[in-house]
């Protein structure tokens, strides 16, 4: 017999029939019954996945990151392995394409860096990790929870920090898990968008936005404090379409962003002075009589008061002096904006991360409203919407065990996704503390103190503010449990880490807060390693809790992510999307059936007066000015402004750790204006130290005139293996609004200051 070649072996191995018969006679002798020394492999064959000759199985997925675009994904699976992903062609928003991050998803699922097993650290930050079985991990956690309950008489010593790392609806089962254990402490609010959310609720009675797909109808678009060229790439085609149809695209931003580069006109506003700039425009429009007299008379209250305020307190020169934008330029864009029909403003989240952020959003709303652009297709004060999020929140709504004791007093809302509002007259409730001041709250909370912290869908040591203080707060905690996919800076400080599934490994459902598409997320591949979904973790914990103390946890002890996804749907939600069963989503994403692409098109608002409120008593009741008006920014506490916006290669602390991102963006930089750098003797590429009252960051400098001379900029994010953390420079000062709808004020991320020297 001639030697069998490598090529022949590979051909034989490729085909299940040929490879199973290759050693046929040999295996038939029963040689495999006894395999001395073999400890892992077992006799017998397994299905290696369906073989699709040259083809792929496809699955429906949905990007669950905290992103405008919430892409509908088609994933391609071969032999049980995810091979590649692309944007779903059915969605006219995603339109068949993904972003730089989305295209890297295969790298995420199959990264050798994933957390694979439950593990326990012998001393936080020591790097001394031992593997645990899931049973061992659940036992340790359950015993700690029961010990806290025995010590304090309640579970208020157990706190949850969870936010937007995964927006799949069943992930609210983490909150459900907490409720199923008892009344606990919840870190509530959001670092993202709450000031603007409250502002729009005061002005209009709800936060609703025009369908972004109607942008091509606009004749004038101002993108104000947002950078969709990086952060909402799928919206860019609609902006381009508007430009092609003759619209002018203006970008207002302190930084010359990639979006600004695509605009017809760039307006460099002084950071935090957006309100002044917009008030100057309002005053000029008022003076020229270019406002929509009919609309404000019919559909608003408080306009005369606003007009009087403008005449008394605002001049275009004052606005120019405050905002740094020349008066002539303010006048020009004001006139153009007021005379274009329709005209629209995209109000970015960046511009409301200020101590006057909510007040500024109210002013931008007013500018759109007084020009008659609210309720118009192609118009609108576009911020965000949540009307497509009408799920059952089945996973979230769990009952406390009988006899649970908790916080005495009113509670709520617990974040923007808590639609149950403020609850008065309840015997016990969860204790709520401000997520944007996590460190301070952990340090200050007493009776009982926060003893144990559960972290899910969040990387608090990269994303929460004042990292030095956070490390101190962690010292106070008796146990920290983190569920995550990668060894980030929070996992470094955990006692127990639990591996969680990627969305390709579980079922879920996702809506967007920007566009109006709904996407099913099917399980495309089996979970790798020992990863479990958040609700499977809750079920495993419940099982152990009930073994140790029957009745101590109400969460079901077995769950199926597909069943739980199905239970999130109700008739109202299905009707909104014009489908009769959630299963229809397996054919592709569907879009909400809107009566108009513009909310408020009937001119009836959800405010107490049913009109647009330039003067809002509700706003006053919540501790702010009733009238739309200027609010001073935060006084500088150091020599230069510090901005820490979103990178193109990451969503907060996700994605940057992947190899494909590192290939293009291998290290963080601080971006400095050449003049500012020259004054400090800093050259391009120099190692520098950025410092302020919070702490310091050491990194390399890049010189660019894209940032203003008074500003330092570094993109937030978590780099694998690097100590870089911009939260060493960001304190936890609150923004003005946010408590009304989310239970805690927002945070003034962009009202930070620092200085820089050569390192």
């Amino acid at each position: 017999m001639s030697k069998i070649t490598k090529q022949e072996i590979e051909r034989i191995l490729e085909n299940p029939v040929s490879r199973r018969s290759f050693l046929g006679g040999l295996l038939a002798t029963g040689a495999l019954v006894v395999l001395p020394g073999c400890r892992l492999l077992r006799p017998g064959t397994v299905d290696m996945g369906q073989v699709w000759e040259g083809g792929y199985q496809t699955f429906r997925n949905a990007c669950s990151r905290n992103c405008y675009d919430t892409c509908s994904i088609v994933s391609y699976v071969k032999n049980g392995v995810l091979k590649f992903v692309e944007g779903a062609p059915e969605s006219s928003f995603t339109a068949g394409g993904l972003c730089v991050k989305g295209n890297s998803y295969v790298r995420r699922v199959y990264s050798p860096d994933r957390i694979k097993y439950p593990m326990e650290q012998q001393g936080r930050g020591t790097g001394k990790w031992k593997r645990l079985s899931w049973d061992e991990a659940m036992d340790k956690i359950a015993r700690k929870i029961l010990e806290i309950k025995a010590r304090d008489g309640s579970l208020l010593g157990l706190a949850l920090s969870k936010y937007s790392g995964s927006f799949g609806i069943t992930h609210y089962g983490v909150e459900g898990m907490m409720s199923s254990l008892g009344y606990t402490t919840r870190l509530v609010g959001t670092p993202c968008w709450p000031a603007g959310m409250d502002a729009q609720n005061f002005d209009m009675g709800n936060m609703l936005c025009n369908d972004p797909e109607d942008l091509p109808l606009a004749r004038y678009v101002i993108v104000w404090g947002a950078n969709p060229a990086w952060c909402s790439v799928h919206s860019m085609k609609f902006l381009y379409a508007a430009q092609e149809a003759g619209a002018k695209l203006v970008v207002v931003d302190p930084v010359f962003t990639q979006t600004a580069a695509k605009a017809d006109e760039y307006v460099q506003v002084r950071t935090g002075e957006d309100g002044a700039l917009a008030l100057g425009m309002c005053r000029h429009i008022l003076d020229r009589g270019l406002y929509d007299k009919e609309w404000v008379a019919a559909h608003s209250i408080g306009f005369d008061e606003f007009a009087a305020y403008l005449r008394e307190h605002v001049t275009i020169d004052w606005a120019a002096q405050k905002s740094g934008v020349p008066a002539s330029h303010i006048a020009a864009i004001a006139e153009e904006f007021a005379q274009a029909r329709p005209a629209t403003i995209w109000i970015g989240y960046g511009m409301q991360r200020h101590v006057n952020g909510g007040a500024s959003v109210r002013i931008l709303d007013a500018l759109v409203a007084m020009t008659g652009n609210i309720g118009k297709p192609g118009g609108g004060a576009r911020y965000a919407q949540m009307q497509t999020w009408g799920f059952n929140y089945h996973a979230k709504n769990q009952k406390q065990p009988e006899g649970s004791k908790g916080w005495i007093g009113a509670s709520g809302p617990k974040g923007e996704f808590d639609f149950s509002g403020v609850k008065e007259n309840v015997k016990y409730a969860d204790r709520t503390i401000n997520i944007n001041k996590t460190a301070q709250e952990i340090l200050d909370t007493k009776d009982p103190q926060v003893r144990m912290l559960w972290v899910a869908c969040k990387n608090i040591l990269s994303q929460d503010f004042d990292r030095p203080k956070m490390l101190k707060a962690f010292n106070k905690l008796e146990m920290v449990v983190v569920a995550d996919q990668f060894f980030n800076q929070t996992v470094e400080q955990a006692d127990i880490v639990l591996p969680v599934t990627t969305f390709f490994e579980e079922w879920n459902i996702n809506a967007s807060y920007w566009h109006y598409w709904l996407s099913l997320n099917e399980q495309a591949v089996k979970p790798l390693h020992e990863a479990k979904s958040d609700i499977e973790i809750a079920a495993a914990l419940s099982k152990r809790m009930n073994e140790l103390a029957p009745g101590s946890c109400t969460f079901p002890t077995t769950v199926d992510t597909k069943d739980w996804t199905a239970q999130e749907f109700n008739k109202k939600e299905l009707d909104l999307f014009g489908i009769s069963s959630w299963e229809e989503l397996r054919k592709g994403p569907v879009k909400a059936k809107l009566t108009s692409s513009a909310p408020w098109s009937d001119g009836v608002f959800a405010t107490p007066s049913k009109k647009y409120e330039f003067h809002s008593d509700l706003c006053a009741k919540n501790g702010h000015d009733a009238l739309v008006m200027y609010k001073e920014g935060r006084p500088a506490y150091d020599k230069l402004r510090l901005l820490t916006p979103h990178s193109k290669f990451a969503i907060n602390s996700q994605f940057q750790n992947l190899d494909w991102m590192a290939d293009f963006n291998s290290e963080p930089y601080v971006y400095i204006h050449p003049r500012t750098a020259a004054l400090r003797g800093i050259g391009h590429g120099d190692a520098v130290r950025v410092f302020n009252k919070v702490g310091e960051v050491r990194l390399a400098a890049q010189l660019t005139a894209d940032v203003p001379p008074d500003t330092l900029l570094m993109y937030e994010g978590w780099y694998k293996g690097l100590a870089f953390n911009c939260q060493n420079l960001v304190d936890d000062v609150s923004s003005d609004m946010g408590s009304f709808k989310t239970g805690a004020p927002g945070v003034a991320i962009h009202d930070q200051f620092a200085d820089v020297v050569r390192a």
């Binding site: 199973r20 290759f22 395999l35 064959t45 397994v46 050798p112 790097g127 593997r131 790798l528």
Partner: protein, 171 residues
């Protein structure tokens, strides 16, 4: 894991001749996890595809080849796909199966399949994996010892001298 560590410490007598203490067993476990398990990114991932596949990820073509070899041998991993089939532990287990079968029967097909698995799979990645371990400072002697045993075994199987040329670490 503790039992595995105990085996490891026995396999490599400490340089100073004292028996391994509980502390060293713990330290060995931490070091083992830092090298191969996690939760942090590990310097020497014990999966063939990380070294052989162009994307350096898990569940690549080399993973599938390992699974196909097991299938041809009539064995399979009980992990149901959760542990990639090209994990070193499974591949060494397959080597045990090969040797058990070879000891019982003469078969040209078996010899050819083993030769393929050894020379066109194991030998292509295990030296790279061992090189990655070598680049890590302060690897406990027990782990270095087992690594050198693995290296020597591979060389012996190939009928060659011990591997002296160390390829560069890919990580």
């Amino acid at each position: 894991m503790a039992a595995a560590c105990a085996t490891l410490t026995k396999a490599a007598p400490p340089a100073d001749g004292h028996p391994a203490s509980a502390d060293t067993a713990d330290e060995l476990e931490y070091a083992f996890n830092r090298l191969f398990v996690g939760p942090g990114a590990v310097p020497a991932p014990p999966y063939a595809s990380v070294y052989l596949d162009p994307d350096h990820g898990l569940m690549g073509e080399s993973t599938r080849i390992a699974a196909a070899v097991y299938d041809a041998l009539g064995v399979s991993s009980p992990s149901n796909g959760r542990l990639p089939d090209d994990h070193l532990a499974l591949e060494l287990d397959a080597a045990v199966v090969f040797h058990a079968l070879k000891a019982r029967e003469q078969s040209a097909e078996l010899a050819a399949l083993w030769d393929y698995f050894l020379r066109d799979h194991l030998m292509l990645w295990v030296p790279l994996f061992l090189a990655c371990i070598k680049q890590v400072p302060d690897v406990p002697p027990a782990i270095s010892h087992v690594a050198s045993l693995l290296s020597a075994w591979l060389s012996e199987e190939c009928g060659a001298k011990p591997v002296t040329h160390v390829p560069p670490c890919i990580n």
